[in-house]
Amino acid sequence: MLAIENLRVVYHDVISVLNGVSLGVMEGEILIIIGANGAGKTTLLRAVSGMIDFYNGDIIEGDIKIEGTSIKGLDCTDIMKRYGVTYVMEDRPVFWYLTIEENLKAASFSRWDKQVRGDIEEVYEYFPVLGHLKNRKAGYASGGEQQMLAIGMALMTKPKILLLDEPSLGLAPLVTEELFDIIKRLNDSGITIVLVEQNAHAALNIGTRGYVFETGRIVLDGKAKELLENQDVREFYLGSGEKERKSYKDAKRYKRRKRWL
């Protein structure tokens, strides 16, 4: 469905963040992308959604294709309207000074029609707590409610592919669990999801496939279950690998092997 071919992205003409990333997203799956800070996960989502211009970034090589047509260089509103790709930015992108209902209406701006009212009700069904707070300013809602609102706003744009950037950022484990259940439900209703996460364990549990990023490259990929079992992932991202100290030589070998692979 979504194919990324050898993508290279540079910020401010000097800072190279993605160095040749190729990956594919299949229809109806939950794709998990994990990796350390600065690995380029957010940059990848920005590039796909067309927001990269806004952050002074440039795609200098490679291509992004949806169903075979290139969307590289299109405006982000165009990408959203024509191809149904919605990007939920990290850190709860809601409009603080608008009420929750106004937030949902604002998000449906690009496709204003008769069904907006019904769609808002549908979002309230997914997230009952938003329905109770609909006249409150979004800035006064709690972190979990704000994140739910952000996902609800994304739903208002009728996405085919939903790019979620760290939805669990700063949320309590229980709230995260609830949120991931909802993401699973959204996926069941037919939305393809690309999920960037630091909370690798929870994410890989609901995902179908996963990629591991490191300094702008993909170093590992596979089924989510396999990644959960993988020794390297367990050690570096889940923190539950073999407890005994490894020799420094082996660690270096791991790095070197990954780099030349």
Binding site: S49, T77, F95, Y97, A154
Partner: protein, 355 residues
């Protein structure tokens, strides 16, 4: 007592015009966090456009041709951006727009001949003039402000500073720097209650300003476009991520702002005469928005009225004591006092702090 009431009333009427000026600054500041220092020049341009339409003022062909060519270049340039529009629509549209502008400025619209009654002429020329001013504002935004989207707001502010000089020089080139007599000939609604006397012109100015002000507020708070503008003014990146075209919103905001400034400009010209040097009146918006709070629309209204009253009071009570010219300074003194007490202005937004 009568004296005081008279002063207050006059102050409020003029203050409403100032409030409109403040509103123009506030909506641009909210949308892009930039301060529009070119407000005085926008004011002159709006007034001159209206003047051209209303008084059938024509300019020599070589100047009209330049304007037409400029508009043609602009329109084809903008439409060239979209691949689907190229050549088939962009060039003819640009040519048509350029030709239209040339004809309007060279031949004039002959409104005085078409419509005998000055009121009818005003009713037709006023919206047209405002529309033209809005279009010019939008054009200026497209060329100068749009490339800066996503950069620091301070760079936009500096651009408007330079823009001010450029626009002022352009207006001087086209219309010259002498004063044009400006008389709208609106129906006389001079108000006389007992010993109070309010002249017709300020009353018209107050009414029209209030009307436009409330129309802008209805637009901002009751329509979906207004909602999109409010969303964009909070965070451009977020708005773009949710499918609101922030660039287009910025265009609309500049258009509305230029339109409101034109109303204020026409009203202020109606008090006296129209000339290029009038632009400094636009800077009266500075104390208005700073007193009211840079990001508060209601604050602009209150700030405008306060500045108007302050000016009228200074003119009535302080100037007779021998301090000639104190009227111009009084609003800035008020500004200083307000800023000492509340640095964010009287109605600056209470920032939401999550605990």
């Amino acid at each position: 007592m009568i004296d005081l009431l008279q002063t207050l009333g006059t102050g409020v009427l003029v203050g409403l015009v100032y409030a409109l000026l403040g509103l123009c600054i506030v909506i641009i500041f909210k949308a892009s966090e930039a301060f529009n220092f070119a407000i005085g020049e926008f004011l002159i341009i709006g007034s001159f456009l209206f003047y051209t339409l209303f008084f059938n003022e024509t300019i020599p062909w070589y100047k009209a041709l330049q304007l037409g060519a400029l508009v043609f270049l602009f329109f084809s340039f903008i439409l060239f951006y979209d691949k689907n529009f190229r050549l088939r629509i962009a060039l003819p549209m640009g040519l048509a727009a350029g030709l239209l502008i040339f004809c309007i400025f060279f031949y004039g619209l002959k409104f005085p001949a078409l419509f005998a009654s000055p009121i009818l002429r005003f009713v037709i020329a006023f919206p047209l003039g405002l529309l033209a001013a809005g279009l010019v504002g939008a054009m200026i935004e497209r060329v100068t402000i749009k490339p800066l989207l996503g950069r620091s707001p301070i760079s936009m502010t500096i651009v408007t500073l330079g823009l001010g000089f450029l626009l002022r020089a352009s207006v001087q080139l086209i219309w010259g720097s002498h004063a044009y007599p400006f008389f709208l000939d609106l129906p006389d609604i001079t108000l006389e209650i007992g010993e109070l006397l309010f002249l017709s012109d300020p009353i018209w100015a107050g009414i029209l300003s209030l009307l436009i002000f409330s129309m802008v507020i209805v637009f901002l708070f009751r329509t979906r476009w207004g909602l999109a503008i409010r969303a964009t003014s909070e965070d451009q990146a977020k708005a773009m991520a949710f499918g609101i075209n922030a660039r287009f919103i910025l265009l609309i905001v500049w258009g509305i702002s230029a339109l409101c400034i034109a109303v204020a400009g026409i009203m202020i010209s109606n008090f006296g005469a129209l000339q290029v040097g009038m632009g400094f009146v636009g800077l009266r918006a500075l104390p208005v928005v700073l007193i009211g709070g840079m990001d508060s629309i209601g604050g602009a209204l209150i700030g405008g009225i306060l500045v108007g009253i302050c000016e009228a009071a200074a003119g009535a009570y302080v100037e007779p004591l021998g301090l000639v010219g104190f009227k111009e300074v009084a609003p800035y003194l008020l500004l200083l006092i307000v800023l000492f007490i509340r640095p964010y202005g009287l109605f600056g937004t209470v920032r939401i702090e999550r605990v």
